[in-house]
Symmetry: none
Subunit: 191 residues, 4 copies
DNA sequence: GATGAATGAGCTTTCATTCAT
DNA sequence: AATGAATGAAAGCTCATTCAT
């Protein structure tokens, strides 16, 4: 395996603390202590506290992208693909609530370098953009401005994950899950 | 008037800097310098840096609430009321981009005391909750779980303001504005 | 007065400690403690530990230059002017042993930025260069390369101050003082 | 041979870095990296960073002493012996500029233990002291205090090497070399 | 001999806050 | 009300040194 145990422990602890207390409120000493390593060890693996945050951000983004890639190409029916993508992305968020919260907190914050944030956004939004464009050509999705639809999808995804993370038991209920998809799809659907 | 020039200068500068750099990255010395006052003056008007943030948060929330109150009661038609509320809220955001960004950044952040954040959220979401409940009773709005719909409305509002603040010229185009409302309304509409 | 008491206390203490222990061995905490101020006060007056060193270096250089300026123009006789300059410079060093030691330690060290060091060197060596050139024109001083003579004068000055600072009582003896000037002058004198 | 390649690489690199950046500014990690060895290797060969500095200092001192020993005894003429010693010492410095710079920087610095420095100084100044004393007995050298003359010789040697290391091409010119010796000798010569 | 991940004491620097003026 | 020099706890980070491999 390529990541040492100590490095992984630092990453896990940093994720938990950054989400629970915020970046600036979390001291490197606290991360090290709770990860069971010396303060110097943190800086042996990451050049700075900022670099640790960036690494966390990029690797979580990658993990998410890996999880949902392919979920939107399985069917010949576009709506089925959209549904698969939606539930695949939501499932990942519900299964990784800490990582989802991390994303929610830091994907908009000035704490992370804009260039890194934008790159991450675009990579992930790429999936949805492709899907929307295909849907518009097939006349299934309304002809609204693409930028607006992107932001809208993103906003709805954040809202849905927020809801299911705050109420995990509702994720078990078919009608709640279905409701979340309908909110998402009906907004965009051609009328 | 009750707020001195210096106090107002501090508030304006703090808003700009908190949005541009984040709360922890902005020093009280920087706020004071850029506001043209001495460092001590800031603490003459606000008990602490946190108190300044809270004051900013609550007064902006109040300003927003004042701006949209009443916009959802003007018609007897629910959809018209929803449209009015939607455009009224968006208009305020577009007219006050800094304050909207501030809200976007801090209404979720652990930097502000949870009790203050929740109170603010509920006050503002109250408008929408009332509207949704009425719509469901009239059979105009789908019978999805109320919490999910609240989160969804909030997410769509954030997404739309994000879009129009990033592309201010599109706010002038009727079809873009209309598209934003359709995305919002059609998602929730009974089918 | 333009320099506050605390700033002066920091400068005095830093001079003493930098000479006694060296720059890197002296902590800013030690300077502050011994100067009777808080650690923050040091950084209120100087941007960094390095800036403190630079300030010390440049102000001592200025003090020295002020002390010897004019000493080489009082007579019409060149050798008399040289003697006056020599004893004036030596007197300053004997009267300010700490500052002389500081100069000796840091005017060659990579700790201080080269540009600052060179500027300081040239300012002070300007006096001697003028004198040597005049002496060569009058046929009193040998026609050796000017750069070599500059370095030589500097080296002899450092050696003489070293000697008299290490043996202060010898500075009281006319023959020792005279010997130091003869070593200096006879080396350069035309033969 | 007794010194391994890695140990020698460490010594060479340390010499270069200590001269270029100073002792405290040079990290053991930097030495190891630039020498192409692991950090642990440095401590396998030297007990500590200080021990490395001391080793460097003493071995360079020894090298210098070996180079000039014997150069002052070849003739029956004292001035000839002095000239030989002067040029021999200068030649070594010009041929080993890094080592000379190292000496210049560290033979006065509090970084090296005083006892080691003094011992080194005396060993080397022994040559010159003997020569001066003989010269005074023969009436060739002025009767100035011996300590003053020692410091003066040392200062002139440092000045001359400084000059020729900074202007290597001048070392090729007979008149520059001769001038350096005249400055040295005429200062001390009986009048 | 050689490696380099790990250590943790100790450093410089920051910054919200105070208070005498 | 306003000032800004002064404070000192606390932060991020460094680096000589160790030791299991």
């Amino acid at each position: 395996m390529s990541i040492t145990d100590k490095k992984q422990a630092i990453l896990d602890t940093a994720l938990a603390l950054f989400v629970a207390q915020g970046f600036h409120t979390t001291t490197t000493a606290a991360i090290a202590r709770q990860a069971g390593v010396a303060t110097g060890t943190l800086f042996h693996h990451f050049a700075s506290k900022d670099a640790l945050l960036d690494y966390l951000f990029l690797s979580i983004k990658q993990e998410f992208a890996d999880a949902i890639v392919g979920s939107a190409n399985q069917s010949t029916d576009l709506k089925t693909n959209a549904r698969n993508l939606w539930f695949c992305a939501l499932s990942w968020a519900i299964a990784n609530p800490l990582k989802q919260e991390f994303f929610q907190l830091y994907s908009m914050s000035p704490t992370i370098d804009p260039s890194i944030r934008f790159q991450a956004m675009n990579t992930i939004l790429g999936f949805i953009t492709t899907l929307i464009a295909a849907g518009q050509q097939q006349g299934l999705i309304a002809d609204y401005p693409i930028g607006l639809m992107q932001d809208n999808c993103h906003g709805q995804y954040l809202a849905a994950t927020r809801y299911f993370i705050d109420h995990p038991q509702h994720w078990q209920l078919d009608e709640h899950r279905e409701a979340s998809f309908k909110l998402f799809w009906n907004g965009m659907a051609a009328t």
